[in-house]
């Protein structure tokens, strides 16, 4: 009786086996890789805002400190988006006729908030505290990139958990003497 399988069946068998293994790896790995691409994380993608606000002009040319408009970053969990009143503090005096600032003036006089688009958006199960990071000497640019040179702000970090843990596992030394910086990797540090 002739052999049921011709000799090349062995090759096919091995090929199928290998393809199955590769396929299984790809099925698992591909979403993991995809989740880390900037396509999914939204990294480096400038976000359109309701007002053509240019950080280059304010932070680079005028040298306004980050904390002038985002004072919450120093002490509280949220850095905070400046109130319209903060904008008008200067723009009531300078560029107070600019058509670009029309939405700001409208907000100021109507009391309706300006609807900015969030650039750094963490999942709702992650709790980040700006104050403790700033106090530990983490510079704003460490996570937010060179905002002073961004025409339209984009996310300069992937905001994946790995990215957080890169620092949290192995924090750089204290920026100032006397400050404690410790590795904190316990889950409830961020997930509560």
């Amino acid at each position: 009786m002739a052999a049921l399988f011709p000799p090349w069946a062995n090759t096919v068998y091995r090929a199928v086996l290998a393809a199955g293994l590769v396929g299984a790896t790809v099925v698992v790995a591909a979403p993991m890789v995809l989740a880390r691409t900037s396509y999914v994380t939204g990294e480096d993608q400038p976000i359109e805002q309701p007002i053509e606000f240019d950080h280059r002009h304010h932070a680079r040319d005028d040298g306004i400190d980050c904390l002038y408009c985002h004072p919450g970053a120093e002490r509280t969990a949220h850095a905070g988006i400046p109130t319209t009143e903060t904008c008008m503090g200067c723009h009531g005096q300078v560029w107070n006729q600019s058509p670009l600032l029309e939405p700001v003036r409208r907000s100021y006089f109507s009391g309706e908030p300006i609807r900015w688009r969030r650039v750094y958006d963490l999942p709702d199960f992650v709790y980040f505290h700006h104050g403790v990071h700033v106090q530990a000497g983490v510079a704003c640019a460490r996570c937010h990139g060179d905002v002073a040179n961004m025409p339209r702000v984009y996310r300069a970090a992937p905001l994946t958990m790995t990215w957080c843990l890169d620092c949290h596992r192995d924090p750089p030394g204290p920026a100032h003497p006397g400050r404690r910086v410790t590795a904190i990797t316990t889950c409830s540090a961020c997930h509560r």
Partner: protein, 966 residues
């Protein structure tokens, strides 16, 4: 000419044949379509972020603010501090400086935040069912039809309201006021009139008490003032060492209450038998040479059964032995005569001026002006022009014989201002929504007379006026805001007139609102002594009440529900799902019967019973309660609401008011029970009260504890382990709970729910064992003795749940917390199966409803969990991390006592202590070093971080039978 475009009339097949799509083109188009679809599918536009247009004073986004205000229930104020996130109140906490709170709260107070966001709140002013407006109603209130005005509102202690009512009476002569409170304290005030000639208020100082006797008085649970009294009692009850002598508590009551469950000697007796016992106690005191007034002859005829007589004699001896350091407390439901005798007993044992002080009543018109019966009679006689019912529900919460609904319909103009459309609204022409206390201005007095302020934390969600604003409209003060109305009378009281008058007033006003109350305004103690002889009215009352009953039929003792009170909180889902202390019943009330009576009548749990009192009947499911008196049955009020506009309350449980006699007395003398064939499945969280000899909740008598202080030795200490024991350094969080002083009041359960966004699951969910409470109170009953054991995640050092999680969603933090990471959890429930304490809770469904206003209550510092996720107590990790972050930013260590968990904060007795093991000077650490400390299920080797202190009883040797041994 181009080819004619296919018209709509053409059949599709014709078009397809003419266009001639080839297979290749179709594939090309398909590919292009996918590419386009993908290109259009860019990153979803991010969330919006809306900064304030104008800077908010005091507010920094993300950081909560705390404001002091007051909760008023039945006229008595309790100071609270409310957490607010960006103008959104989320959590109630006790005001540590307020004398009625001292930081503690009741379960009802904790849950009151949910009422603010109740999706079923009344929203619009309605006239005869048609939408109207507050302006129109105010206009109507300014021009009333002829005929006297009647006001129906809860008891009031507010100086502002008193002023407004006085003004209304000026403007509308003949105005009558009904202070409506089905669970009111009228009998207590009338009892004081018997004894002192004036309706005085009893102020307890339990910090100085060695012996306390509760005569049907739930002074640690339901009574007004209980939050404060529980704290004072606990201070005398907690033992630091076996040599301490804790306060001894006697109780006589039909149904086991938190107070009775703690009593060293609890006499289960029908509520109607309390007066004979009080009479016997007074005569026993007289027999022992104490100064008592001559008792009427009927007192001598009181024949107590030997068991009770023995109890009374022992109590009399103990009261005398601790004269000046003992107190007798009479419950609100007891008749005035019993309260009066209580005063004479207190006078005879030297309690007056020591442990019991008497002051002027906190309430305005404590004896009332008119009654609901008066209102019904006047309405029927056509003698009422206008009836304004404010913030109460008399159609539901009144004796059916009064037929309040029909009476109100006979009144030419009826107005009902109410937080929710209810039974009374249907009987009234106008219905107005009423502001929640977190939306309103006002003032009130605490039980001790301290003036407390109510200030809003949020603008009225539906623009509803407050009681004060409605009264002002009636008083002809239209267009004044609640704030203006409140400031006006306080202006001269807070600051003396002078050149700097306004500045001084503003300063005092700001300070008063900051504190939430005016310190030093407690009513001064009056040098009161009861009259030398019993007044004739009291003698007549005693003659009537002490006459032997015609037959020995069952008594029905009606009681306020510890959850929904008199029904006003019945639409609060947290309170509906709160396991009732002692019965662990949720989402219903039940006829509570003693096991012996149940056996006699052949009643199982859930058997529907027909209760008959005179011509009134009611069907109610029965529930056996160990420790209940045999001659009595108890039914809690506040259920059986008929309010379709309150879907949570509507039809839940049975309406006990249906059995209320016309006099409104909560003790219904004679009822008959008959089992029907029906059965209802009650929703309970704990079905077993026995620990089956596993020593889960330890207890000991004081003398046994002194003889053998180390009696818990087998339930603590090091155990060998096969697994590596991790070294842990730094702050180590832990909890210690003293079961000696836990009353089971369940304030902690609701506090936890509010703090941690714990959802409710409904009656069916509870029946399936899916209740979500992170903290439950387990009760173990052995020989009629109760130990309450708050059971929450024990944060085991060798946690069984952690070993079995396949995805590492539950893990251990370096500071000793058993962490639950929701976003990792895939819902295998292995952890829950492996938890010996059964404290893990699984989200079987999406219980949270983000689309309803109730979601506004959520604490933004805690993740809202979704379906398929396990959750459990976190030791309030958000508060721990918050304190750590604060400490880090300030470059210091976390201070002892800086982290307070929600349950610890709410606990009226301070039975729950939390902190770091390294902070040696805190009660948490000192307590767990006591010999009576133990760990639950210690022998499993889980090394729980939560330790308990065994319950120590202090029985009277003279009464001691073999009832209690550890």
């Amino acid at each position: 000419m181009s080819s004619p475009s296919p018209s709509l009339a053409e059949p599709l097949t014709d078009v397809l044949t003419r266009v001639e799509i080839r297979r290749r083109d179709a594939l090309k188009l398909l590919g292009a379509g996918i590419a386009l679809a993908k290109a259009g599918c860019m990153q979803a536009p991010g969330e919006e972020v809306l900064p304030y247009a104008h800077k908010m004073p005091e507010l920094s986004p993300g950081a909560p603010l705390w404001y002091a205000t007051s909760i008023v229930l039945d006229g008595y104020a309790t100071g609270v501090v409310v957490e607010s996130h960006e103008g959104r109140p989320t959590k109630i906490e006790g005001n540590p400086a307020h004398p009625a709170s001292l930081g503690g709260t009741s379960a009802i107070q904790q849950a009151s935040i949910l009422d603010l966001y109740d999706p079923d709140r009344a929203r619009v002013v309605e006239l005869a069912g048609m939408p109207s407006s507050w302006a129109r109603l105010a206009e109507q209130l300014g021009a009333l039809p002829p005929g006297p005005l009647w006001l129906v509102l809860p008891p009031q202690s507010s100086p502002l309201v008193a002023g407004l009512i006085a003004r209304i009476r000026e403007g509308h002569p003949g105005t009558r006021v009904v202070y409506h409170a089905p669970l009111g304290r009228g009998a207590a005030y009338r009892g004081a009139v018997h004894a002192f000639g004036a309706p005085l208020e009893v102020q307890l100082d339990l910090t100085r008490a060695d012996v306390v006797v509760a005569l049907d008085a739930d002074l640690l649970g339901a009574m007004h003032g209980a939050v404060r009294w529980a704290r004072d009692f606990a201070a005398r009850r907690h033992l630091d060492a076996p040599t301490d002598t804790p306060v001894r508590l006697y109780a006589i009551e039909p149904m086991v209450t938190p107070t009775g469950s703690l009593a060293d000697h609890r006499l289960a007796a029908p509520a109607r038998d309390v007066l004979p016992v009080a009479t016997a106690l007074l005569s026993e005191l007289g027999r022992r040479g104490r100064p008592v007034p001559p008792l009427p002859p009927v007192a001598a005829s009181v024949g107590l059964p030997p068991e009770r007589l023995r109890w009374v004699r022992a109590v009399a001896d103990d009261l005398i032995a601790h004269a000046g350091r003992s107190a007798v407390v009479v419950g609100d439901r007891q008749p005035a005569a019993c309260h009066a005798l209580g005063h004479w007993i207190n006078a005879a044992v030297g309690a007056l001026g020591a442990t019991v002080r008497l002051t002027a009543a906190a309430l305005d018109e404590p004896l009332g002006d008119a009654t609901l019966a008066d209102l019904a009679a006047a309405a029927r006689a056509g003698q009422i022009g206008t009836a304004a019912v404010l913030d109460c529900n008399p159609v539901y919460a009144s004796p059916p014989a009064l037929a309040i609904e029909a009476a109100l319909r006979a009144v030419p103009l009826t107005v009902h201002a109410t937080p929710q459309v209810d039974e009374t609204s249907r009987a009234c022409q106008w219905t107005a929504p009423l502001a929640h206390y977190l939306e309103a201005w006002g003032d009130a007095r605490a039980l001790d007379g301290t003036v407390s302020f109510v200030q809003p934390l949020i603008r009225p969600l539906y623009g509803a006026p407050s009681t004060v604003e409605i009264l002002a409209a009636l008083a002809g003060l239209r267009g004044k805001t609640g704030r203006a109305l409140l400031r006006e009378p306080w202006r001269p009281r807070l600051a003396a007139a002078g050149p700097a008058f306004d500045q001084a007033f503003e300063r005092a006003w700001t300070a008063a609102l900051g504190d939430g109350f005016l310190a030093g305004t407690a009513a001064p103690a009056l040098p009161a002594t009861p009259t030398a002889a019993l007044p004739a009215a009291l003698v007549a009352e005693l003659d009537r009440a002490l006459a032997p009953p015609a037959d020995d039929r069952l008594e029905l003792a009606l009681a306020g529900s510890p959850a929904v009170h008199d029904g006003r909180f019945a639409d609060n889902a947290w309170l509906q799902e709160l396991p009732q202390p002692m019965t662990s019943l949720t989402w219903s009330n039940a006829l509570l019967v003693s096991p012996r009576l149940a056996d006699r009548l052949d009643l199982a749990d859930g058997t529907v019973v027909r209760i008959r009192s005179g011509d009134r009947t009611l069907l109610a499911p029965a529930l056996r309660v160990p420790g209940h008196a045999d001659g009595s049955v108890t039914l809690e009020l506040g259920y059986g609401r008929r309010a379709p506009d309150q879907p949570i309350a509507d039809g839940v449980g049975v309406d006990g008011f249906a059995l209320l006699g016309a006099d409104g007395a909560l003790i219904v003398p004679a009822v008959d029970l008959a089992a029907t064939g029906q059965r209802r499945r009650l929703a309970r969280t704990q079905l077993e009260l026995d620990d089956h000899g596993r020593d889960l909740a330890l207890a000991a008598r004081l003398d046994d504890y002194r003889r053998d202080p180390d009696f818990t030795r087998e339930h603590r200490g090091p155990l060998p382990s096969l697994l590596p024991v991790p070294e842990r350094t730094g702050l180590q969080w832990a909890m210690t709970i003293d079961t000696t002083i836990c009353t089971g009041c369940s304030a902690c359960v609701i506090a936890c729910q509010a703090e941690n966004n714990v959802p409710v699951v409904g009656a069916d969910g509870v029946r399936r064992g899916r209740a979500m409470h992170w903290l439950r109170i387990d009760r173990y009953v052995a020989r009629e003795r109760v130990v309450h054991q708050p059971m929450l995640c024990q944060h085991c050092e060798m946690a069984p749940c952690e070993y079995v999680c396949p995805v590492y969603a539950t893990s251990h933090s370096p500071d000793g917390l058993n962490e639950m990471t929701y976003n990792r959890c895939v819902g295998t429930r292995f952890c829950s199966n492996n938890c010996p304490y059964k404290v893990r809770r699984f989200n079987w469904f999406n219980y949270n409803r983000p689309e309803t206003t109730a979601a506004l209550q959520h604490n933004p510092d805690v993740t809202v969990r979704d379906r398929g996720v396990m959750e459990k107590c976190t030791y309030c990790v958000q508060r721990i991390r918050g304190a750590e972050i604060q400490a880090r930013m300030e470059r210091r260590d976390v201070r002892p006592g800086e982290v307070v968990t929600a349950c610890q904060q709410a606990c009226p007795t301070g039975a729950i202590q939390f902190g770091a093991l390294g902070h040696a000077d805190t009660p948490m650490v000192k307590w767990r070093q006591q010999p009576r400390a133990y760990a639950v299920l210690h022998d499993l080797g889980t090394r729980p971080r939560t330790m308990y202190l065994a319950a120590i009883r202090n029985p009277n040797p003279a009464l001691d039978n073999d009832e209690d041994e550890p």
